[in-house]
Each structure stands twice: as structure tokens, then as C-alpha cells.
């Protein structure tokens, strides 16, 4: 088989990022070179991923690239492989898109920092690590890339020397994250001891026939390891610290990309390596973890007083949605989870970037100190609104479509299994969505609307070079919401099919027929059919919206315009009504905003707030206990 030119793209898209990292370090003196190299690396990586859509997504090819040309010999994969199927490519596109937009944003954003060359070196290392994970077909390679990525992420978290919390956050991140890394390593060792190979495809072919307690332990360890990278409960506190302390463009990567590698890892472990996802016990476990993550973190988010920390908790809450949906093991559930994964990257990226813009302009992200910025930064406020509507699932933005699918998938699962538990998961997901909305109303009221403190009188709109990536993200938020059909055709459909079709993945690496020869049962679902229980046609809905909006606009134009707006001087007519008093600054503090809710939930919220006490040892204890529980759960129920 002659190699097509595009078969080199996976390795090149990783190499270009790492090469960029070294070149940036080499040319660290020149600002132009730094910008140029970074741009070339991130754009090149993204372009190569896009170029792979046609062969992988549309033609259904699986690209297997053996480094050094060491193809499998005698049924054993001795070389290191890069294997790109639709799932890998899906995450690859998602990652490179976030890296590209966030990278473009960083050029201006890091202007206030020192040592910017190191920032871009680490940034590209982080990006390369993530790309390496999602494109690799070798388990140990994934581990190494995981460590590269974690290392870069920790360094970037601690990067802002003027942020007093950065070191603490980075340290906790490193320590608690090391539980995950250790679990992954131990899991890999156990798998190697049983299967004598590190190739993903071969392991997944052999694992079923070699199932024994140590393989089960390896499954539990790998699950927890990748779960740590996805910051599932109870590993969430470190995520909140790290997201908040890191520069915003890095937070975009940590929340939109880093966590996605965890999700990707869980897909690989549960659907490919061990193929345990078919078991009801595993489904229950994953859905349980997902639901707890989504509800617990959204209530934690309601308690926050810092814009970025709030976003961080939401990030984990959304990961909870993704895990819940993926844990259902139905075609609709997988499609919904993957859809939510890409939506999460887009809207959470957008929100982090707006938070960064606020930080850039005002120097703080404390909700209590801000207010009324929409007058000074109208575009940023509009972008924030788009992000907030997307994440809370307001139609026609993208968050709605994926949540809609998740509700259906969970409820359908409930119908299928006859268990009311899954129905309650649907309810929980809806409630979480409302609470998400509530906390973004809080941010909107405290940061962009409400009254403006006097010290922000001279705040300027975000610079254009930062606005452009944000507008692109906002446009994508709307586009992915309006064009689900295209999303299904080009991204989600093939990816869902690939998740359910592990034999094809195996055969592509090991030669045709290998899977059939090694696996006792071949549950092959080559072409999943995604059926919706309800109806939703965003485009025609938009048409309606436009028609009616036009009618209303016409009507309001026809009625005589009687708008009076104040000039520069505030006269008493246009003054805020304050019960007749002269207007003085008085803003409802963000902590008191949902008093009616908090009062009723005070015991729960107080308990949660006390539990997240910031002591590293306790977070480690949670992690280790969680690890132990999951291991025990696996041994009892599987």
C-alpha cells in the first residue's frame, strides 16, 4: 500500500508544535520570531487536522503510522504507532482549534507579563502533549505525553509571578495530579505484564481473553488516572485552583483541552481497551460519577466570588455532563457527549477569554469589585452573553442542542432499563442547567451590568487582536448550534461510529482479520443509528425568529420614536431611580444575589464550602479514597 501524503499529517501536527516550542526558546530575544513561530505552529497543526477530515471522517479510513516504519511482526506490535481514527481526529480537531484561537489571543494578552518567551515555549509544549495523547496509538506514549502536558500545565499555572495564588495552585495541582499519573503508570505496567504489548489496538484485541484480577485492577487504575485528568469528582478542587490561577488563555487549554484528554482516555479505556462499557455496572458507575460531578460543582460554582474560579467549577460540571452521556453507552448518548465536548471547548473557551479580557482591562476578576462594564466594553459584554447563553443551553446556541440530546439519551436509557434512576439523572441534568444559568446571571449582574464602580471610569474596550479570536469562538458557538446536521455528517457521526467499532481500529493497526482471530465476541456496531425522541430544527426556527424580529422592528419603527437619552452630563431625569435619593453606588453583592436559594440550601452549601478547605493532604485523601472505592467497586460488580 503506497502511503498517501496525508498519512504523515498526524506526526507532523505533533512535531510542528514541539519544534515550535524549541524554536521559540531558541529565538527568545525576538518578539517577531516568537509570534511568527507560534502562529505557524498552531495554524499548521490546525490545518493538518482539518485536511484529515476528508479521508478519516468521510471516507472512513483509519490512519496508522508506524514510527520508523516498524510494522507489526509476527502478530506483535513492536513499533510505536500513531493511530488516527474518527475519535482521535475528533479530539484532535477540537484540541487544535482551541490551541489556535487561544494562541492568537495570547499574543496581546501576555503583554502585561514578563518572560513571555517561556510562556510560548510552555504553551506549545502543552499543546503538543495534548495532540500527542489524542493521536497516539501506544499506551506508554500516551503516558509520556500526559506527563509532558501536566508538566507544562503546572508550569503555566505557576507562571504569573504577580499572582499570589499561582504557586499554591500549581503545587496542589501537581500533587493531586500525581495520583492520576501514578495510577496510569501502574495500570500500564499491569497491562504490559498481562498482554506483553503497549499497542492500544493489540491490547484491546487481547484484553478480553486475558481478563483476570490484575487486568481488572489495571482497568480501575486507568479509569481513575484519566478521570483525574478530566478532574472528575473528587479531583475537582485542584481544577478550580489551577484554572483560576493560570493566565486566561491557558485556562482555556486546561479546561477545554486538558480535561478533554481525560475524557478521551476514558473513552479509549472503557470502549476500546477493556470494552467494559457494555456492562450495566460500569455504565452505572460512570453515570453516577458524571452526575455527582455536574451537580456538586455547579453548586460550588454558585458559591464563588471570583469570575475565573466560578468558570473553573462550571468546567467540571460540564465534564460531568459529558461523562454522564458517554456512560450511557447508547449511540445517542455517545453522540451527545461528544457534541457537548466540542461545545464545551468553544463556550468555556469563550468565557475564559472574556474573563481574561476583564482581567486585562481592570486588573481583577473579583465579582464584588467589578460592575457595569458593559458600558465601557460592549463587545466583551456581548461575547460574554453569547458564552453564557451557550453554556446554559439557551436556544439556538450550541449548548442547547447537546443538552437536548443528553436529556433524551438519559431518559431513553431509563425507558430501556426500566430504572427510574436514569430518569432522575435527566432531572438532575435539567436542574444543573438552571443553576448554571443562575450563576451566569450572577456574573452578568456583578461584572457587566449593574452599577459601575468609580475607578473603572477609564476602562477601555478589549484590544482588537484579543477580540478577533473571541468573535470566532462566538461565531462557532452559534454555528455549531445552528448546523447540527453538518456536525453530524462531518464530525459526530463518524466519531460515534468509531467509538462503537473497536474491531476496525484493531484491524487497521494489526492487519485485517486480527481482531476476529483474537476476540471471543465481536460486538460490532458499524453504523449506529441516532434517533431523536423529540424534534428540533434550529434553522427553520431561526427563520421564524428572523421573520418575527423583523416584524417587531418594523412595528417599533412605525410608532413614533420617543427615546430620550441623556447627554454627557447626568441630569436628574436620566438618573437612576433610587427612591428619590441622589444616586450613590450600591450594588447587590454577588454573594447575596441568590439569597432565597442559598438560605434554603445553607446547610448543604456551608458543608461543601467547609469541605473544600484547601489543605493539600485532604485533597490527596479524597483522591486515594476515591481510587480505593473505584477499585473495590470494580472487583465487586464486574
Amino acid at each position: 500500500m503506497s502511503m498517501q501524503y496525508y498519512q504523515h499529517f498526524p506526526v507532523l501536527s505533533i512535531m510542528i508544535l514541539f519544534l515550535g516550542a524549541f524554536l521559540v526558546a531558541l529565538f527568545h530575544k525576538s518578539r517577531f520570531m516568537r509570534t511568527f513561530i507560534t502562529s505557524v505552529a498552531v495554524i499548521g497543526s490546525f490545518a493538518m487536522m482539518i485536511a484529515l477530515i476528508k479521508p478519516v471522517m468521510l471516507n472512513g479510513e483509519i490512519i496508522t503510522y508506524w514510527l520508523g516504519g516498524r510494522v507489526p511482526d509476527g502478530g506483535y506490535a513492536i513499533g510505536i504507532a500513531l493511530e488516527v481514527d474518527a475519535v482521535s481526529l475528533f479530539f484532535g480537531i477540537l484540541v487544535s482549534l482551541a490551541v489556535l484561537l487561544s494562541g492568537l489571543y495570547s499574543f496581546r494578552y501576555t503583554k502585561q507579563d514578563d518572560a513571555r518567551d517561556k510562556f510560548f515555549t510552555l504553551y506549545l509544549m502543552l499543546a503538543g502533549g495534548v495532540m500527542g495523547i489524542v493521536l497516539s496509538g501506544d499506551l506508554f506514549n500516551i503516558y509520556v505525553m500526559l506527563e509532558v502536558m501536566t508538566f507544562a500545565a503546572v508550569a503555566l499555572t505557576a507562571y504569573r509571578s504577580w499572582n499570589p495564588n499561582a504557586r499554591e495552585a500549581a503545587f496542589k495541582y501537581l500533587v493531586v495530579g500525581s495520583i492520576g499519573s501514578s495510577s496510569v503508570l501502574l495500570g500500564i505496567a499491569l497491562i504490559y505484564a498481562n498482554c506483553h504489548t503497549l499497542n492500544l489496538a493489540q491490547i484491546s484485541a487481547l484484553a478480553m481473553s486475558k481478563m483476570n484480577p490484575s487486568m481488572l485492577l489495571a482497568f480501575a487504575l486507568l479509569f481513575v488516572g484519566f478521570g483525574t485528568k478530566a478532574f472528575m469528582v473528587p479531583f475537582h478542587p485542584i481544577a478550580a485552583d489551577a484554572h483560576a490561577a493560570a493566565p486566561s488563555s491557558v485556562s482555556v487549554l486546561i479546561s477545554g483541552v486538558f480535561t478533554k484528554t481525560g475524557v478521551y482516555g476514558i473513552i479509549r479505556v472503557c470502549y476500546f481497551l477493556f470494552r467494559t462499557m457494555g456492562m450495566p455496572a460500569v455504565q452505572t458507575g460512570v453515570v453516577l460519577i458524571g452526575s455527582v460531578s455536574m451537580f456538586l460543582c455547579v453548586t460550588m460554582a454558585l458559591n464563588q466570588h471570583d469570575f475565573k474560579r466560578l468558570l473553573a467549577f462550571h468546567s467540571i460540571s460540564q465534564i460531568g455532563y459529558i461523562l454522564t452521556s458517554l456512560g450511557l453507552c447508547t449511540a445517542l448518548g455517545i453522540a451527545g457527549g461528544l457534541y457537548h465536548a466540542i461545545n464545551h471547548t468553544l463556550f468555556k473557551g469563550l468565557l475564559f477569554l472574556t474573563a481574561g479580557a476583564v482581567l486585562y482591562s481592570t486588573g481583577t476578576t473579583k465579582l464584588e469589585k467589578l460592575g457595569g462594564l458593559a458600558k465601557k466594553m460592549p463587545q466583551t459584554a456581548a461575547l460574554f452573553m453569547i458564552g453564557a447563553f451557550s453554556i446554559s443551553g439557551v436556544p439556538p446556541f450550541n449548548g442547547f442542542v447537546s443538552k437536548w440530546m443528553i436529556y433524551q439519551a438519559t431518559y431513553e436509557k431509563a425507558m430501556e432499563t426500566g430504572s427510574i434512576g436514569y430518569a432522575l439523572v435527566t432531572v438532575l441534568a435539567v436542574v444543573t442547567s438552571v443553576l448554571t444559568l443562575a450563576s451566569f446571571v450572577k456574573v452578568g449582574q456583578s461584572v457587566f451590568f449593574g452599577e459601575m464602580p468609580i475607578e473603572y471610569q477609564n476602562v477601555k474596550e478589549t484590544p482588537a487582536s484579543m477580540l478577533v479570536p473571541m468573535w470566532i469562538m462566538a461565531g462557532l458557538c452559534l454555528a455549531t448550534g445552528l448546523l447540527p446536521n453538518l456536525m453530524f455528517k462531518y464530525l459526530l457521526g463518524p466519531a460515534t461510529g468509531a467509538v462503537l467499532n473497536s474491531p476496525a481500529y484493531i484491524d487497521s493497526a494489526m492487519g485485517a482479520g486480527y481482531a476476529a482471530s483474537q476476540m471471543p465476541d465481536m460486538s460490532l456496531m458499524a453504523d449506529p443509528v441516532i434517533v431523536f425522541a423529540g424534534a428540533w430544527k434550529p434553522l427553520s426556527w431561526l427563520l421564524l425568529f428572523v421573520i418575527i424580529l423583523a416584524a417587531v422592528a418594523l412595528a417599533s419603527l412605525m410608532s413614533k420614536k420617543r427615546t430620550s437619552e441623556s447627554g454627557a452630563v447626568i441630569d436628574s431625569k436620566h438618573d437612576t431611580f433610587f427612591g428619590g435619593e441622589e444616586n450613590t453606588f450600591s450594588q447587590v453583592a454577588s454573594g447575596d444575589l441568590f439569597w432565597g436559594f442559598k438560605h434554603n440550601m445553607r446547610k448543604y452549601l456551608g458543608f461543601m464550602s467547609n469541605a473544600h478547605n484547601g489543605i493539600t493532604n485532604e485533597y490527596v485523601t479524597w483522591g486515594v479514597v476515591d481510587l480505593a472505592i473505584i477499585i473495590v467497586y470494580c472487583f465487586i460488580f464486574i
Binding site: 499554591e168 500500564i188 505496567a189 484547601g614 493532604n617
Partner: protein, 116 residues
Amino acid sequence: MIVANYIGAILLVAIGFYAMMTNPNIIRIVVGMNIVDYGLNLMIVSVGFNQGGTAPIYTLGELTSGMYFVDPIPQALTLTSIVIGACVTAMSIALCIKMYSEYGTLDARQIRRLHG
């Protein structure tokens, strides 16, 4: 013999986690991380160990029938893992130094500006 290695590895991991869970001194937490690492390294090396096997470095002339090797891949993995462990340790110690100068203490119970 190899069983002793496994038990030792598990013990090391357990000791490391115990240290991380109970010691409030952040330097000792880092030490705990290292102990976990060593446990894992021991584990991986033991996985590839063959009783009586020789080192997997040979020339064709030395090859005799009945000769067998220890698995070289786990050793390579261990090397990688040691390197990574060293990097992580360096990083965390660097952070500890910075934190000590910022907080004036190494006590994890007092390094908790981020909470709630």
C-alpha cells in the same frame, strides 16, 4: 523471589500515599510522591524480570541455545519514568521554595488561600 518485589512495590506505593495523605509538611508530600514513583518503578522492572535471564545486550556470537533475556521494554519504561519523576520532583521542590518565601511556612494546613 519476584513476589517479594511485588509486595515491596505495593508497600512502597502505600507508604507514599500514606505520607501524602497525613504529612502536612509540603516537602514530605513531595517525598511521598517520590516514594510512590519508586514503588512503581520497582513494579515495572519486576514485570519484565525473568529468573536467570541475561541482560538483553548481546552479539550474535554470544547467542547460545537455551539462553533467554529479561524483557528490555520495562527497563526502558522505567528509565523514562525515572526521568519524568525527576522532572516532577524538581518542579515541585521549586514550587515549595517559592511557597516558603511567600507564606513563610511549609505547613500545608496554612497554605490554603484557595479554598471554599
